[in-house]
Symmetry: C2
Subunit: 394 residues, 2 copies
């Protein structure tokens, strides 16, 4: 767990009673000094109250703490919901002895129920008391909803001889699709960078990671990724070389977290990359990858370990992208399953079924038309997914 420490940051997670059975459901990250901050938020037209609040507050470019609850999304809660989000930040601020404006708020859970502010208020003193540098593990656990495992990662880099650290935490298991989903992610670093640069790098990294995954095709009302940089390492981004160094690590962290989310997809048993190449444009390739990655027929076949490539090609065909059926090749890992739009026979299919038994695999679709390419990470679609989502609130 020593790896999940970032100098100058402390974190904590406690049980406030929002979730059943004493599970942790209230979490906080705190920086010793105000940090540069940037964020990316859901594209859903319905936005939860804390998202609306954060989108305003983050404009200052400075934050010092993020308080997060699971078990309640504080979404579709009207004017009162917005007041509740502010009050929640206010509780944290007064207990931390900092300005309310420096506190961001995130919520995740059921939509449409009022936030039980009293429970949160009661739990905040013990939450603040338990802040510690190694508290990120508790934090990662307290933000989980249908997640089965906490998700975190860390990396270190060096600029001008000075070592800096980035740690990342995420939650998300259902309602996951490109353009972010019921997904929260928090990145802390002790590098020194201004918030415009942080925003730019965060947006790019998000495009390459959280916006390239899908579990069930739904997009949530609460998605948020926030990065805080407190500069305490003394490593300052001053050149394009420094930017590259930091960006590579940041991309790596976000891609790693995104994959952790798909692996923990509700009911998922497999992580599958849908890679499309040979399209007329990257955009075309992405449309096909996205359509295949979200096809329930493809995803149930993956669950059944059935090398049913007909469903893959049929999904590709409905993506509304130019293609020539007689030029399409499909690979399962390195095995050529479909050549020139036709199956390669039963023997090959048996080999492909072997690939499908692996926990991670890649399906490549080559349109043989141009140089456009894109990939989307998805998972299979199991009986367990339906069970989880039919019973979620009961």
């Amino acid at each position: 767990m020593a790896h999940l420490i970032c100098p100058g940051f402390m974190a904590a997670g406690v049980a406030s009673g929002l979730k059943k059975a004493g599970e942790k459901d209230l979490a906080i990250i705190f920086s010793k000094i105000p940090a540069k901050v940037a964020g990316a938020f859901t594209s859903n037209k319905i936005k939860a109250a804390p998202v609306l609040l954060d989108m305003e507050r983050i404009k200052s470019g400075i934050s010092q703490a993020i308080i997060v609850n699971s078990g309640n999304a504080n979404c579709c809660t009207g004017y009162k919901g917005l007041e509740d989000a502010k009050t929640m930040a206010g509780f944290a601020a007064s207990n931390l002895g900092i300005s309310e404006e420096l506190v961001l708020v995130c919520s995740t859970g059921v939509i449409g129920e009022p936030l039980p502010l009293d429970k949160i208020q009661r739990a905040i003193p013990s939450l603040i008391d338990s802040l510690k540098p190694e508290g990120v593990c508790d934090f990662a656990r307290a933000i989980m909803t249908t997640d089965t495992v906490p998700k975190s990662v860390s990396r270190q880099g060096k600029i001008d001889g000075k070592t800096f650290t980035i740690i990342g935490v995420a939650k998300g298991s259902g309602m996951i699709r490109p353009d972010m989903a019921t997904m929260l992610s928090f990145i802390c670093t002790d590098i020194d960078a201004d918030y415009e640069l942080l925003k730019k790098l965060l947006d790019k990294a998000t495009q390459r990671s959280f916006n390239r995954i899908t579990i069930d095709g739904d997009t949530s009302t609460n998605d948020t990724v926030i990065i805080m940089a407190n500069g305490l390492s003394g490593a300052v981004i001053k050149s394009s070389e420094h930017i590259d160094c930091f960006r590579n690590l940041l991309d790596d962290i976000l891609i790693n977290l995104a994959k952790q989310i798909v692996k923990d997809g509700e009911g998922a048993t497999k992580l599958v990359e849908i890679y499309v190449k040979g399209a007329l444009s990257d955009n075309d390739a992405h449309k096909i990858a996205d359509t295949v990655a979200n096809s329930n027929l493809v995803k149930t076949a993956l669950f059944g370990e059935d090398a049913n490539w007909g469903r893959i090609i049929a999904a590709a065909g409905r993506a509304n992208v130019p293609l020539d059926q007689s030029k399409i090749n499909i690979f399962f890992d390195d095995i050529l399953m479909v050549k020139n739009g036709m199956g390669c026979g039963k023997a090959v299919e048996a080999e492909a079924t072997g690939v499908l038994m692996k926990p991670e695999l890649r399906i490549s679709i080559d349109l043989n038309l141009g140089n456009g390419c894109a990939s989307v990470i998805t998972c299979d679609f199991s009986i367990e997914y339906v069970k989880i989502n039919a019973d979620y609130r009961s």
Copy 2:
């Protein structure tokens, strides 16, 4: 079954060995005289061989027979597949003693496997021998794949004192989504109308019916709707009043068949209409209805009889359509669940749960922005769906 007779048409369905266990899998409709014909075909860029063949042949506006097999889609089968489709039509034509050009072909089943022509050839004589006016029931059964019940309907109308009949048959249970799906439908009528008019009315009726349903969001490579009109009733369409009379019955038949398909959706336990009104345009309303109707989270909640309106509003929010969260009302049948974007409380939710226990219900979403409206018929998403589709080919 007397209701499923249309003067001048005969039909049959037999087992040829394409499906397991002696189930019927080869079917034919035959008109005593050449009939006017029109068709609508899949929008999928990947089209099965018989679809490509029919799209050519139907240009003549005249057909006399349609031969259909289930158990094999004859899709992604290359040049040979196209030859096979022609040969299959040829077998039927020579046994019927008519020109090959007057025979259309449809196939449905697994993609990418060669059509077992020998089995079809062997079965055709007994298929033709069993043609009879009341053979539509056998036909309807022989075109089924994962369908659990055959689907048919008939109506009668009168023009200038002359009674005409329309009968409709359909199959489809999975890979169903607007823009048609693994769905075949055949309409026979003894009215007299030219094929341009038939095409126009069929396209409109298809828009209102088969293109407004969804089961799993996938669109097939083989979708086909064909109407044949043999004119034997002596009822001739000569005025706009006649057109209205015929159109109303045709719309009714297609909507009825579309609903039968959703009711028999793979694993479906409920038929749910998603009705959106108050949008800025019909197109906006349709985008939202379609997004909600295809949301796995909404569909699993319907299966779980969970009045989880948060998932409905979240799906509406990601349809990329202008909306004002604080103006949205949501009804379950007549029960107002969400007012001005917020839930109406636990007591109402209990009532709404009662609505969800019904086998048919309507979810209305009022955006309160304009006059646009649209509806899409969907079903719930059950454990059974995953079981059916994980095991389909094994």
